[in-house]
Amino acid sequence: MFHLMTDPKTAEQLIAQIATGNRSALAALFEGESGRLVAIAQRLLRRRDLAEEVVQEAFITVWRQAASFDGSKGSARGWLTTIVRNRALNLLRDSARMDFEDSEKLTELGDRQADARAAYEALSIKDALRHCLGMLDASKREAVLLCYVTGLNHGEAAAFMNVPLGTVKSWVRRGTVALQECLS
């Protein structure tokens, strides 16, 4: 017998179907994207249960607001990433600040540096972002990566890098301005 193979649908196509109330399209989007999104949220939140909570809320948001997705502004996968990142960061910012005197926390932060560096090194060598991050001074690159990849705020990044708050703020700002110029 013939086995009918249909091409897997793109996230854009699925979101268009979800906007019409098609639940199996949401299930297909979950199948294709939830594992990536939970992993992204977990890298920020360090906890699987919180990461899954964030992704659960994100899929409910997608279900209700799929019609508001505008493909001319960016990709559907990017839209999903942004929803998940925003929720995870809100949760991080809302929870109690870390106590950096605590040696256990410092070990945890050590993992974050490894995460930040691993993400950078996993970028394709041909990727413009990799090239432009590579053009930054090491300290600016590290500050940008710590904040973006692991969700540290300025204060946490400053404590971790052992420099004054103002220094980290200016590294991040100068780093992201240089990135935008390099990427444009």
Binding site: R23, A39, E52, F59, T61, R64, N86, H154, T176
Partner: protein, 229 residues
């Protein structure tokens, strides 16, 4: 685009803008398509870092939780979802009032004969310039009627969320979320009768409402309830 714009784009995409700076930037974003494009461009590039994660297998138990949440009714449910339902859109005037009134089981209001008396009225003022921005009438059945007079534009990925503070121990309670500023009634959760001096405020929150159940975004407007004479 100025150097300052580029700095704020970077801080915004990295999730480092907070409070008044965040509100001001989001207001600027709402009215500046070029700035929005620059934000999307940087997001698109940095998203490649997110995509370096090793995807986990899809978790069927997580899907089951999502699927069961899809089945819960939206308009009649407690906030924050009530005002966010798309059914709030696409109807005009009396039709909208009727639909909303019916869906929250409250068949009364200025369009329908005898209007109920609010127990409390609050005029919410803008945070910066203290201009009257939103009128709130609070009723005995926990519902509130909201009359926006002037409300800052919001970015596409944010919603307005209405909060009240019945008392400091309880903390802020969500009365509901909405996207289009217009006169509306929100069902509100079951709370003690509103008191004179009770705080009402509206914040900008991520799509779907505050993920923590507490205000996380900038306060746009706030005011205190007074008993009408």
């Amino acid at each position: 685009m100025t150097e300052g714009d580029r700095e704020r784009i970077g801080d915004y995409v990295l999730g480092l803008l907070e409070g008044a700076d965040l509100a001001a930037f989001e207001q600027q974003l709402a009215s500046d398509p070029e700035l929005r494009m620059a934000v999307e461009r940087l997001r698109g590039h940095l998203g490649k870092l997110d995509d370096t994660v090793e995807p986990l297998p899809a978790n069927p138990a997580l899907w089951a939780r999502i699927a069961s949440e899809l089945d819960t009714p939206v308009v009649t449910a407690a906030p924050p979802r009530a005002a966010n339902d798309n059914r709030w859109r696409g109807f005009a005037g009396i039709a909208a009032s009727l639909l909303v009134a019916l869906s929250i089981g409250y068949l009364a209001g200025s369009n329908f004969g005898q209007a109920p008396q609010p127990l409390m009225v609050a005029v919410l003022l803008t945070e910066g310039s203290a201009e009257p921005a939103v009128l709130v009438e609070a009723f005995a059945d926990d519902s509130i009627r909201l009359v926006p007079l002037e409300l800052a534009q919001k970015p596409d990925d944010r919603v307005y969320q209405v909060w009240t503070l019945p008392d400091p121990e309880t903390g802020p309670i969500s009365m509901g979320i909405f996207e289009d500023p217009q006169t509306m009634r929100l069902a509100g959760p079951n709370l003690p009768a509103p008191q004179s001096g009770q705080l009402y405020e509206i914040t900008l929150e991520p799509t779907g409402g505050s993920p923590t159940g507490r205000p996380t975004g900038p306060i746009l407007v706030k005011g205190f309830a007074k008993t009408p004479l």
